[in-house]
Symmetry: C2
Subunit: 121 residues, 2 copies
DNA sequence: CATGATACATACTTTAGGGTAAGTACTTGT
DNA sequence: ACAAGTACTTACCCTAAAGTATGTATCATG
C-alpha cells in the first residue's frame, strides 16, 4: 500500500467524487488492474494464495497481495490462515464481496453487448 | 488525451486485463474520477458544455473536455455543435451510453447497501 | 475599446499506482 | 547441504493520469 500524501488536489477530488458518486465509491473498491480478476477467480469458491498466483500468471506477487490486502481491508474478501508450516492461507468472498457479483455480471453483460456489436459504437 | 508509450509492462498488462476481463473493459470506459459524474449528469437529458461545467464545479476545464472527448471516442456520448457564435455544443448519451445506466444503477445499489450497513463490513 | 461568454487547446508539473528485483522464515525432500 | 514450496515484505523506479496555468477565436454589449 503506497503512502498517500495528505493534502493534494487529487486526493481532495477523489474524496469529492467518493461522496458525490456511488459509482466512484465502487470503483475505489474494485479498481486496479487485478482486483476484478481476483474477484472473478474467487467467485467460484475460496482459493489459496498460491492457487490465485498460478491462476493469474501475469500478476506479480507484490501486486497480488497488495490487492488482496486492500480487498480484505475493504471487507470484500476474508483471509483465513491455518497455523501450519508451510503456510496455508485461503481467501474467500465475504457477503459484501458476493454482493458485488451482480454488478460484475451487469458490467460483463454490457461489455459483451459492445463486443457483439449490439450498440454499433 | 495523454500520449501513450507503446511497450511498457503496464500497457501490456492493461491489454491482458482488457481481453481477459470484461469488467476491466468497462472500467476503461468509465474509470477516471469525473466520467461517472458526467454520465450521471447526462442521464437526465442532454447538456451543454457550460452546463456541465457549472454542474460539476470541482472539475477543471481540461479534465472536463478530456473526459468528454474520451467518452465521445468510446461512443458513449454524442457531441453536437451548432455552427453559431458564441458556440453551442451539446452532449447526449448514445445508445451504448444509455446501456450503461443499469450497470451504474447496480453499482449505486451496492454502494448504498454498504453505506446502510447491510453487509457489516 | 475592452469585457464577458462560448468551447475549447496546450505546455508543464505532480503523484498515485503499478512494476522490478531481491530477501525472509520455516520445513520437507534428495 | 541445498533446492523447492509456502506466503509474504521491502526498497527502489517508471509512467499514466490528474492538476495548474495560460492562451485562442468569435461576437454582442456597455
Amino acid at each position: 500500500m503506497t503512502a498517500i500524501k495528505e493534502s493534494s488536489t487529487i486526493q481532495e477530488n477523489k474524496q469529492y467524487a467518493l461522496e458525490k458518486c456511488p459509482v466512484t465509491f465502487v470503483m475505489e473498491k474494485i479498481g486496479g488492474y487485478w482486483k476484478p480478476i481476483i474477484l472473478y477467480h474467487l467467485s467460484t469458491g475460496d482459493k489459496r494464495y498460491s492457487e490465485l498466483k498460478r491462476a493469474i500468471p501475469a500478476v506479480t506477487e507484490k501486486m497480488l497481495i497488495q490487492h488482496l490486502k486492500q480487498l480484505e481491508a475493504d471487507g470484500l474478501v476474508i483471509r483465513e490462515a491455518k497455523p501450519v508450516v508451510p503456510p496455508f492461507v485461503t481467501y474467500t468472498l465475504s457477503n459484501a464481496g458476493t454482493g458485488l457479483l451482480p454488478v460484475i455480471d451487469a458490467m460483463a453483460a454490457w461489455a459483451f453487448k459492445v463486443k457483439d456489436g449490439v450498440y454499433t459504437i
